[in-house]
Every structure is written in C-alpha cells, then in structure tokens.
C-alpha cells in the first residue's frame, strides 16, 4: 500500500475562483486515515500481543526514572505552595488532602504523559524515521508484511498501556514527595497530613488519572508514529520529524487535558 504524500486535488484547491481551499485540513485528514488504518491493522490476526508487551515494558522502563523524579520534584514544589495558600485561608490541616488530590488528579497523568512524549515519543519517531530512510518499510511490503501491522500498531498499543502504568508510578512518587515536602518544612504534623489525605482520596480520583493518561498515551503514540512513518529528507528530516512530533503531541495532549478535565468533573457531578 503506497503512502499518499499529496492531498487530493479538491482539498488542495485548484486555484480557480469558487473552489474551497483548506490547506490545514489535508494533513489532519491524512492523520485520521493513518489512525483508522492503525486500528484496522492492529486487530488483524495474528494479534501483535508479544510485540506490544515487549514495547510496553521498554517504554515503562525508559520513562520510569524520569517520571518518578519529575513528578516528585513538581509535587514537592506544589506542596510548599499549597501550604502557603492554605495558611492564608487558615486551613492548614487540609494540606494532605489538597496536595494528594492535586497529584492524583492532575500532575501524575500530565507529567507521565509529558515524559512519555518527550522520551518515548521522540525516540519512536526517530526509530521509525530511520527505518523509513533505510527503506525497510518498502522491503516489508515486498515480502508481504504490512509495516502498519508489524511495526506501528504494537507501538501505538504500547503507548496506550504504558501511560497509565507510569501514571500509577508517578502518583506514588508524587504523593510521597508531597508528604516529605510538608514534613521537611514542618507545616502540619504527620498524622494530620495522612488522615486528611486518606479522607480526601477515593479510587475514582486514581481511575480518572488512569483514563486521562491512557487518552494522552494514545494521542502521543499516534502522532509520534505518524511523523516517524512519514519522515523524509535524510538525517535532517528525521530530526525535524522528531521535533515536530514532540511539539504537536505536547500541544495535543494539553488541549485534550483541558477537555477531559472538564468532562470528568461533569461526570463526577
């Protein structure tokens, strides 16, 4: 299946008066077609289960330390700021619940997704881009292997699985770091902090974080593989594709984050 590089004549606009020209929509259409193709090919037998598991483990392993450190650092800073805010209101005793809820609902999924985009997203784009440069995909077509089924789909599924796992890791590291931050500064006693955290937190918050992370992971995986699969122009082209993949996936998941937060808050009532 040759990869179409040019949009159709209608979308490109023929330059005649009266034709509608929508240059921004053509790449979006190509991207959507790619996404549909990935899912169609992903469920063709034999299902790429082994490859998906291997990729998931690789992504989780590569991102685990960055996620833990970054969520930890962020949560420490936030615990200190939250203590300042709550002291103004005179509700210091609620610090535990405040900080832990922020970590579980917002920081863990967002930072996990950010690190997945920066680390695994750009390295996947590079990997696929290098394969495209070496004409490995064309070789696969020649031996009747569909590269979308063999290479792209397992990676997209792996992103979908790895992001929630990293979210769980980040939530653990973040709540621990927030606790350490509050204790090191002595804002509240340990017991008060833990009781307030325990009261405030419910399983729904964790599930919300996991749903968010899974959606972000899917977006990042699709964008990263799309840019890698369609890379062109030698070594420089691969670098440019990686750059574009990072920028677009970060913008996409922050927008998705706003929409999802509003949606989940509505659903929770």
């Amino acid at each position: 299946m040759p990869v179409p590089q040019q949009p159709s004549a209608v979308l490109q606009g023929t330059g005649r008066r009266g034709t509608i020209s929508l240059p921004g929509l053509a790449p979006l259409g190509r991207f959507l077609r790619f996404a549909v193709d990935v899912f169609a090919q992903g469920f063709v037998r034999p299902l790429p289960i082994a490859a998906t598991i291997a990729q998931t483990l690789e992504y989780v392993g590569r991102c685990a330390l960055p996620v833990i450190f970054v969520v930890g650092g962020f949560s420490l800073a936030i615990a200190i700021q939250a203590a300042a805010i709550l002291q103004m209101v005179g509700a210091d005793t609620l610090l535990g619940g405040f900080a832990t809820l922020l970590v579980f609902r917002e920081f863990a999924p967002v930072v996990a997704a950010l690190m997945v985009a920066l680390q695994s997203g750009s390295s996947t784009t590079t990997e696929l881009g290098a394969m495209r440069m070496k004409e490995e995909f064309d070789a696969m077509h020649l031996i009747a292997v569909n590269p979308v089924h063999a290479v792209v789909a397992p990676r997209v599924f792996a992103f979908l699985l790895a992001a929630p796992i990293l979210n769980a890791l980040g939530a653990m590291a973040g709540s621990l770091a927030a606790y350490i931050g509050s204790q090191a500064k002595g804002y509240v006693s340990a017991g008060t902090y833990l009781i307030s955290a325990h009261d405030a937190l419910s399983f729904v918050d964790f599930a919300n974080g996991c749903i968010k992370a899974a959606v972000f992971g899917l977006l990042i995986g699709l964008i990263a593989t799309y840019h890698g699969y369609h890379a062109q122009g030698g070594a420089e082209g691969v670098g440019r594709a990686a750059n574009r993949a990072v920028v677009q996936s970060v913008i996409a998941f922050f927008i998705a984050n706003s929409l999802l937060t509003a949606l989940l808050i509505k659903l929770q009532g």
Partner: protein
C-alpha cells in the same frame, strides 16, 4: 557503567564551562545572536502560549473543585495567581522552550556534526563555541524570561475566561484577587527561575547535539536525549528554587 556515567558528567561540566567562557568574547556574532533570539523566543511563542493557556483553564477547574471542599470558591483567583506566577508559568515556559527550541538546537548541532561541518569550522579556525553555541545560549538566556511574562498573561487570561464564563464568578472580584496576591517580587522570582533554568540546562542540550554520532539515528537520539535531560534539569531545579525562594 558507573564509570561511564561519571565520565559523561565530567564531559558535560567541561562543555558547560567552555560555553560560559564563549559568552565573554570581545567580538561577538551580533547578527547571528539576534537571528537566534527570534528563532528561540518568537519561534517558541505558539507552543508556549497554547500550552500555558490550556493549563490556566485547568488550574481554575481543579482549584475550583478543591476550594469547593473548603467552601471558599471566592479564592479561585488567589489560587490561580499563586499557582501561575510561582510554578506553572516558569516551569511550562522553560520545559516547552526546552522541547521546541532545545530539540531544534540539538538537531541542528547534531546534523552539523554528522555532516562534519563542525570539523570544517575548526579547520577554518572558527571557534564553534563562539560561532554556534554562544549566539544560541545568549538568545536562550535573554528570551526565556521575557517569554515567561507572555506565558503568565496567557495563563491568567485563560483562567479568567474559564472562571467567569464556566463558573460564573465575578470577573472584577476575581482579577482583584489575582492582583492582590501577585507581588512584584513574585514576578522577579519567576523571571529569575527562568534565567537560572536557561543558564543551567541550555549547555547540556547543546552538549547532546554537539556529541552526536551515528547517522540519521544519531541525530534523532541526540534530540531525544537533549529533550529528556533538559526537562529533567529544569523541573528538579525548579523544585530546589521554590524551596529556597518560598520555603
């Protein structure tokens, strides 16, 4: 493995020292520096402003939910002001410029390295640190604090729109809350955080690109490493600075 790790740290430190020394030169490449300012600062504005604006709406949504527990939804403005100026604007500005401009810079340097253009510069006795690194470094140090101010205004505007339109809070009261809880010191601290982050992280980004090897794959690996290291340094440094400035 452990030895290699320490060798890398030593290499990065030496590279950073050389980058700093390249800043103090008697005949700087002014035109190139200005071009890089546009590239790094203006080129990163779209991604920074988009991300920060959506984060602003999110801060208000989460803050409103949390303050509802306390029955103090009037304080959403305070929450937004403190969260935005102290944490989110500096972190997101530096991290996003690291992701956009940082990966561009690392990719450029890596491509030049792979094509042996850096060796060619050395043969012509042009110091690559003065010609390639210093202009980009100066651009980063100068523009990142300025971009953070634009990011802060985007964050506050988006938060204001969410608070008034989605939650129906009183706009005047909301902005009063924001102004009262945002002192000049906070603004200076924010720019200082950005400045320190640029000073500390940027040579590391350049190092990743400068030391690239191994064809197309090598360029991609270099950009990847630059972005991850940059984000890690920026966020950990931010936690340290928060503890020092506000703890």
């Amino acid at each position: 493995m452990v030895q290699a790790f320490f060798y890398t740290i030593g290499d990065v430190a030496r590279f950073t020292a050389r980058s700093y020394r390249a800043l103090f030169t008697t005949n700087p490449f002014t035109a190139e520096t200005l071009r890089q300012c546009v590239e790094v600062g203006v080129g990163s504005l779209p991604i920074v402003l988009t991300v920060v604006a959506f984060v602003g709406t999110n801060i208000v949504m989460q803050g409103y939910g949390l303050l509802q527990i306390l029955g103090a939804t009037d304080l959403t403005g305070l929450f937004l002001a403190v969260a935005a100026v102290r944490e989110f604007a500096p972190i997101l500005t530096t991290a996003m410029i690291g992701a956009k401009a940082g990966s561009t810079v690392a990719g450029e340097l890596a491509t030049m390295r792979i094509r042996e253009q850096i060796d060619a510069l050395e043969v012509m006795s042009v110091d690559p640190f003065k010609y390639l690194i210093a202009p980009r470094f100066v651009a980063a140090i100068v523009t990142i604090p300025l971009v953070s101010v634009a990011a802060l205004s985007a964050c506050l505007s988006a938060g204001y729109v969410t608070a008034t339109l989605q939650y129906g809070l009183n706009g005047t009261y909301f902005m009063n809350q924001v102004y009262q809880n945002m002192q000049l010191a906070d603004l200076v601290n924010m720019m200082f955080k950005c400045f320190v982050a640029a000073l500390a992280a940027f040579p590391t980004l350049c190092y990743a690109g400068y030391m690239a090897h191994g064809g197309p794959r090598g360029v991609g690996d270099a950009t990847n490493r630059a972005v991850v290291w940059g984000a890690g340094i920026v966020i950990v440094l931010n936690a340290v600075l928060t503890a020092v400035l506000y703890g």
